[in-house]
């Protein structure tokens, strides 16, 4: 099949950008979205033009590098998938596909479709860890964790930090990411000692990056390739209130 692409091209940070049209020809349905872009890039390189710059790494939905806004939807039309797992069979011959980078004050565009997501790293640095003794690993199951709690914690831990929640949010809020990161540790006994510090510090780090605030639209959950629930946002709201209620934080 043949599709027309309208791709955001931008030479570098803080430079003006705009859509450029490309024809992607001879695309087969079993190609992933990124393979389709590879095909277009091969053509561009052969013509001596600069290829479209986009981020990617694992190409199996686990690293979170490959975020693109496809036709106004982060990670494109299929639910619970990353861009690299999106297949061209979800499109039709003759379609026009508009591709844009994430838009957020905290995610500056570096080039074309690549954004700098290091703001997320700084949020994690603010509290996304537990303190424990190093040395050889302790006996598994030394600390009992109820199964439903372990499951919920794992649901939050599926976050790959791709930033689709920010990209999809009408307010450019990073609450889903931040609450998944707080949630997966705060739910577990190993994360309890620092729970209130973690909640407050990571929320404050999120705001220092100038991400917006949540107004409960739920767009983040819909865009999340791991379908992480906004229940975690409610959970973190509770942790945050708990921190102020007990005043057990710095």
């Amino acid at each position: 099949m043949n599709v027309t692409l309208k791709v955001w091209r931008q030479k570098g940070p803080n430079q003006p950008g705009g859509f450029v049209e490309y024809k992607a020809e001879g695309i087969i349905g079993d190609m992933s979205f990124l393979e389709m872009l590879d095909t277009v890039n091969e053509g561009l390189v052969a013509k001596g033009e600069p290829p479209i710059a986009f981020d990617n790494d694992c190409r199996e939905g686990i690293c979170g590098m490959c975020g693109l806004v496809i036709n106004g939807v982060p990670h494109g039309p299929s639910k619970g998938t990353t861009t690299c797992e999106l297949y061209m069979r979800h499109f039709h011959d003759g379609d026009t596909i508009v591709i844009e980078p994430w838009r957020s004050v905290a995610f500056p565009v570096m080039k074309d479709l690549i954004v700098d997501r290091s703001a997320f790293d700084r949020i994690v640095q603010a509290g996304g860890y537990i303190s424990c003794k190093t040395g050889s690993a302790i006996e598994a199951n030394t600390i009992p964790v109820p199964k439903p709690i372990a499951d919920r914690s794992m649901d939050a831990a599926t976050c790959i930090g791709c930033g689709a929640c920010v990209a999809a949010c009408p307010n450019g809020s990073a609450m889903l990411f931040t609450s998944a990161k707080i949630g997966h540790l705060n739910l577990l006994p190993q994360g309890k000692p620092e729970r209130f510090n973690r909640a407050v510090h990571m929320i404050e780090a999120m705001e220092a990056e100038k991400f917006g605030g949540c107004t409960n639209h739920g767009e983040c959950e819909a865009a999340c390739p791991k379908s992480i629930s906004i229940d975690f946002i409610a959970f973190v709201n509770r942790e945050y209130m708990g921190a102020y209620w007990t005043a057990d934080f710095e």
Binding site: K6, W8, G18, F19, V69, N71, G72, V73, V98, E100, R103, S104, V105, A106, R152, A168, P170, N171, G172, S173, I203, E204, E207, K210, F211, G212, G213, C214, T215, N216, H217, G218, E219, E221, A222, A223, S229, I230, D231, I233, A234, F235, V236, N237, R238, E239, Y240, M241, Y244, A247
Partner: protein
Amino acid sequence: MNWFVRFYKSSLGKKIIMAVSGVIFFGFVFLHMYGNLKMFMGTELVEGLGVYKYKMDIYAEHLRTFGEPILTYGMLLWILRFVLVLALVLHVTSAVQLWLMNNKARPQNYANALKSQVTTFFARTMYYTGPLLFLYIVYHILHFTTGDIHSSTHIEGQVYGNVYNAFQTWWIALIYIVAMIFLGFHLQHGLWSMLQTLGINNPKRNLWRKRFATAFTLIIVLGFIAVPIGIQAGIIPEPHYQPNSTVIAYHETGR
């Protein structure tokens, strides 16, 4: 006080303040709606005085004498007004500040607009229904509380009569009905949102939060618009007061 500044500075702090003031407004509109329904309940013989009065007027007077002698006359009403004004100031200030903050979060917008997937019409219109409700509240207070607007028919104490006369005019009834529909829009997202923000959730029972929001929105909106509709439709009878009094008739004389 340092902790409060820190709390308020964060978006979560502001949201929690919005939610708590939202709980106050929710309680208020629900009770206000309940009180309004007295318009349908006609008259009652006030035993001690030997006079007939409208239940609506008795209720309005009772709000002033409520809690006596611990409270003084009208005191409950003034406490409620104080709490409501404080809640309104906090609700509006937080909303405006969050809005300004959120506006800065995406300085370069999408060239090809985002397509919303799940957000509701009610959620997206909160920034419009909010200010509209604010204007409505100002209008409503100037109309029924102080009697400055539509004042030709306003007589202090004759609550039943004032409501009846105002809603005889179709366009005043319409203003109130439309305002209540906007209130419904605001509540439909607001009630659910209030629970979410306060962390009142349970993944297994979250369907009930939406049901709670829809049910109470419908109860409140229908309860409110029943009065202007009831008057326009002639279900609520015309008032008959003794001149400049809340008395309808005297029991002994039967007048």
